[in-house]
């Protein structure tokens, strides 16, 4: 069954904007390194968001904290319960609080209203911490959220943490991740006289427990004999996060969001970090080996090898089945961070698929070099792409399936291209060995769905009319 994108564009495929030409390269042809991490081009319909968005997605999974967005209502409304992060305890994080600033507050300042909102949340819920996010307007009118948080924190004797996330600071979520990192550092810094003693446990940074992924990896680590101190921030609590300084090692998964904080933790508490990646069987195995090697305990290394052997054998028949169905199909990837892009590339290659287009919102030059090295000549790599470019490459490159987020999904479907969700509101576990099967299954169910043949078929009466 041959399924490729049969769509044609209504107009001439857009040649694109001049300002964007250096941000798109073809492997094996382009001489220059890709241009990335710039501000988005105005009017280009970037898929990127803002600083607030970056900070909000990193901190949101802290389950027992209240998240208060200081600004007019929109920013809170758009981010109410938007992540698929699961909790084993409190559901507090699934609420979205807003100071709901009105015209009057914008003119006279919103600090008083912010303080009252904090009081109300404390009175109603007694959360152990409140994160207060600054939005664009707050940055412009100059509300001193740091002072308000400090004063209210002393009054209520809980952590009230300002997050300096005014959207206009940058369109790049990376800057938002840093704002979240700074807020986390503020939260976990031990109070005077407080001592957090070192343990042999690990901190798992950049793991958001989407679809229970943290819990699955925790099982593997337990088998190795390692306990997770806390994940940052999936299924975490305020109390657990404060134990971060006691970690023996920091695992960094989502490198885009967490390298910044891993470096801060190394500087401040001397905790070393290593990069891990639990997406796909290969990455999972390599990560488990790296962790065991770090501990250096021969029995742990042996346990890791046993686990890898057992799990690899277990999933092998399923992966082989999907490979037989998917080999040779052409894939496109557009995701937020490079760590995810690299993981998806590897998994699709394990299924003998060809990656013909790959891009990210926030990749760095060295990330793109790595992506470049993994793709065949003639593939397209794009930084901070947009719908017009995605449309063009899905058609030109005859793509069968795309992996990405919600905004890419509807465009792919409109062009008759299959789609795999790999975004932060996903509802299934894509990590570890179980996740490798789930991912392959997701690719299979879209790439080999009968709907594409049915919906593309010209009805008989039209075919015979020659129209």
């Amino acid at each position: 069954m041959e399924i490729t994108c049969s769509q044609v564009s209504g107009g001439v495929l857009s040649p694109g904007l001049d300002e964007r030409q250096n941000s798109i390269i073809t492997t094996g042809i382009s001489k220059n390194r890709i241009h990335c991490a710039d501000d988005s081009v105005a009017g280009a319909v970037s898929q990127r968001a803002c600083v607030f968005c970056g900070a909000r997605v990193v901190l949101n999974p802290i389950t027992d904290a209240a998240h208060l967005i200081h600004g007019p209502v929109g920013c809170a409304s758009y981010t109410w319960d938007i992540r698929g992060s699961l909790s084993s305890g409190s559901e507090m994080y699934r609420n979205s609080f807003s100071t709901d600033l009105k015209e009057r507050d914008v003119i006279f300042g919103g600090e008083k209203k912010l303080a009252l909102c904090i009081d109300e949340i404390v009175e109603k819920y007694h959360p152990p911490a409140i994160f207060v996010y600054a939005t664009c307007v707050v940055g412009i009118i100059g509300d001193d959220i740091i002072a308000v948080c400090k004063e209210r924190s002393q009054k209520h004797r809980i952590d009230i943490i300002p997050v300096e996330s005014s959207g206009f600071i940058s369109g790049n979520k990376i800057v938002g991740y840093q704002a979240a990192g700074n807020a986390l550092m503020r939260l976990i810094t031990p109070k005077e006289g407080e001592v957090i003693s070192k343990t042999k446990k690990i901190n798992f940074l950049g793991e958001y427990n989407l679809g229970g992924e943290k819990w699955l990896i925790e099982r593997y680590l337990k088998e190795l004999g390692i306990e997770i101190n806390v994940a940052c921030t999936g299924d975490s609590t305020v109390h657990a996060l404060k134990q971060i300084p006691g970690g023996f090692l920091n695992l960094v998964q989502c490198t885009g969001s967490m390298h910044y904080i891993a470096r801060l933790l190394e500087e401040t508490y001397g905790t070393p970090y290593i990069d891990v990646n639990f997406f796909g069987a290969y990455n999972t195995s390599e990560s488990l080996r790296r962790i065991a090697q770090f501990y250096g305990d021969p029995s742990m290394i042996e346990r890791a090898e046993n686990l890898i052997e057992r799990e690899t054998a277990r999933i092998k028949p399923a992966i082989e089945y999907y490979r037989s169905k998917l080999a040779g199909k052409r894939a496109a990837i557009y995701v937020g961070g490079a760590f995810k892009a690299l993981a998806i590339i590897r998994q699709l290659k394990e299924l003998d698929m060809e990656i013909v287009f790959c891009g990210t919102q926030t990749g760095k030059p060295e990330d793109y070099d790595e992506i470049h090295g993994m793709l065949k000549p003639g593939s397209v790599i794009a930084d901070d792409t947009n719908p017009a470019e995605i449309e063009r490459f899905l058609i030109e490159k005859k793509v069968d399936i795309m992996a990405g987020g919600v905004k890419e999904r509807v465009l792919a479907h409109k062009l008759g291209v299959g789609f795999v969700d790999h975004n932060h509101d996903r509802k299934q576990c894509l990590a570890g060995f179980d996740g490798a099967i789930t991912f392959a299954h997701e690719v299979y169910t879209t790439a080999c769905s009968p709907v594409w043949n049915h919906i593309r078929k010209t009805p008989s009466w039209e075919a015979s009319n020659g129209t």
């Binding site: 280009a44 319909v45 100071t99 507050d105 914008v106 412009i140």
Partner: protein, 463 residues
């Protein structure tokens, strides 16, 4: 009745409304060949796209002037001009709406002046650029929607020759509802100009070609003739005069305005048909009378069940009002009626729906889901009717939600939910009844067994 309008609290917990520019963008999508440029941070347009994409299941392109820190301090003119250049180059729009945000309004950006200078410099004659001011601290997406329509009409309206068509102005409804409205007008043989027409632009069929700007939408030539129409029928019964596009056409150009409730429910739909009939003297075709007959039949079939339904209804004022009317005419008295928006006439209008007597209901305006949740529980609501925000009522209180309105982000087909006209009402009525029955049949055996057999029933009876 407890028409308590304001909840005395500062914090908004779980929002029932979205921001003003979003409403403006949705309205703009109903104009043929249009693009929206959001003047503000990149994040604003991306959040709006995400919200619309999840609801409509359609690609929705919204441009941004992508202001960063420097432009925020020194002014965003250069970025807005660049944004306009790029949108014109890639999308070739006929109409561009420049929509402001809380940020650019606070910065004091004079977008009308920026646009005028831009057009003078560029000498474009084939693209109309409309400034739309939507500071999100001044209202919700509902106000943004009306503001945009009024600004668009104002942009095109000039004294026009009298014209036999009727203006039809819709509030924010689904593309399916828009299609149904057109079908009704066409079956009545009524010539009309409908604004905004999202029937294709936000719900395009799968086809062989893909256009960056979807086909369909109200033509700008048609909008410019609205000032000469015979009459305006606007479904903005709760829309304040200051925002009302129909009121503007009446005040400035003397086009008589019939401001009606959204035609959901038998009485509201009858009122619409009656109004059309009185303006045009066109007979009501048999096909429509058949649909009315089926609705009446369904009302008889559902009434015993509907009498058991105690709904909480929430969302945008127009939809909430008309669904409230639908429930009450079917013998189901809503116990909570709520909107995240405020309207000077909303509470009076809702109150007038209830017959004389003691019907407990809590009315909430400018409210949030913390209040809706609390009141629903307190008032014993057993069914919710509204957008996806109500999912917490199901999760926390096992109250099923009949999904209508915006946004629907946890089910497919938000763009194709039909609620208006006799047929749409019938389908909504049966969805409501069946959602209630599903819950009832799932739980009644256990409930009755527990109450009459286990707790004070036969197993404890003295012999």
């Amino acid at each position: 009745m407890e028409p308590d309008m304001h909840t005395l609290k500062e914090v908004n917990e779980n929002q029932c409304q979205i921001c003003m520019p979003l409403g403006a963008v949705i309205a703009l999508k109903g104009i043929e060949g249009s693009m929206a440029v959001v003047h503000g941070s990149q994040g604003c347009s991306t959040y709006m796209r995400l919200s619309m994409v999840e609801h409509f299941n359609e690609p929705v392109d919204i441009a941004s002037s992508s202001l960063n820190e420097k432009q925020t301090i020194y002014g965003g003119e250069e970025n807005l001009r660049k944004g306009l250049d790029n949108v014109i180059r890639i999308y070739h729009p006929e109409v561009i709406g420049v929509v402001t945000t809380c940020m650019t309004e606070t910065m004091g950006e004079d977008i009308s002046r920026i646009i005028d200078t831009y057009l003078t410099d560029r000498k474009f004659s084939d693209v109309d650029i409309i400034p739309i001011s939507t500071p999100s601290y001044s209202g919700t997406h509902t106000e943004g929607f009306w503001t945009a329509l009024r600004d668009i009409i104002r942009f095109y309206a000039k004294p026009a020759a009298p014209y036999e068509k009727i203006n039809i102005i819709l509030p924010q409804v689904s593309p399916a509802d828009t299609r149904e409205m057109k079908r009704i007008l066409e079956s009545m043989g009524v010539p009309y100009i409908l604004l905004p027409d999202t029937s294709l632009t936000l719900d395009r069929p799968f086809g062989k070609t893909y256009e960056k700007i979807p086909p369909g939408g109200t033509k700008r030539e048609d909008i410019s003739r609205m000032s000469g129409a015979r009459a305006t029928i606007q479904f903005g019964y709760n829309c304040p005069d200051a925002l009302s596009p129909g009121a503007y056409l009446e005040e400035e150009f003397g086009v008589p305005l019939y401001n009606l409730p959204l035609p959901i429910g038998l009485q509201n739909m009858d009122l619409f048909i009656e109004t059309l009939n009185s303006i045009t003297h066109k007979p009501v075709p048999d096909a429509i009378m058949l649909e009315r007959g089926w609705l009446c039949d369904a009302m008889a079939d559902s009434h015993k069940y509907m009498a058991e339904v105690k709904p909480v209804i929430y969302g945008e004022p127009e939809r909430v009002y008309s669904i409230g009317s639908l429930c009450i005419e079917n013998g189901s008295f809503p116990v909570v009626i709520a909107t995240g928006t405020g309207s000077p006439t909303f509470s009076k209008n809702i109150t007038s729906l209830y017959p004389e007597g003691d019907f407990p209901v809590k009315l909430c305006e400018q409210t949030d889901f913390a209040v809706i949740e609390n009141e629903s529980f307190r008032m014993g609501a057993n069914l919710a009717i509204g957008h996806s925000g109500g999912k917490i009522l199901t999760e926390r209180h096992d109250i099923p939600v009949v999904r209508v309105g915006y946004p629907i982000h946890d089910r497919v087909g938000g763009q194709r939910i039909l609620t208006i006209g006799y047929s749409g009402t019938l389908s909504l009525l049966e969805r409501i009844t069946n959602a209630y029955l599903e819950q009832k049949y799932r739980t009644y055996r256990k409930q009755i067994t527990s109450e009459y057999y286990e707790q004070r029933g036969i197993i404890h009876a003295e012999t």
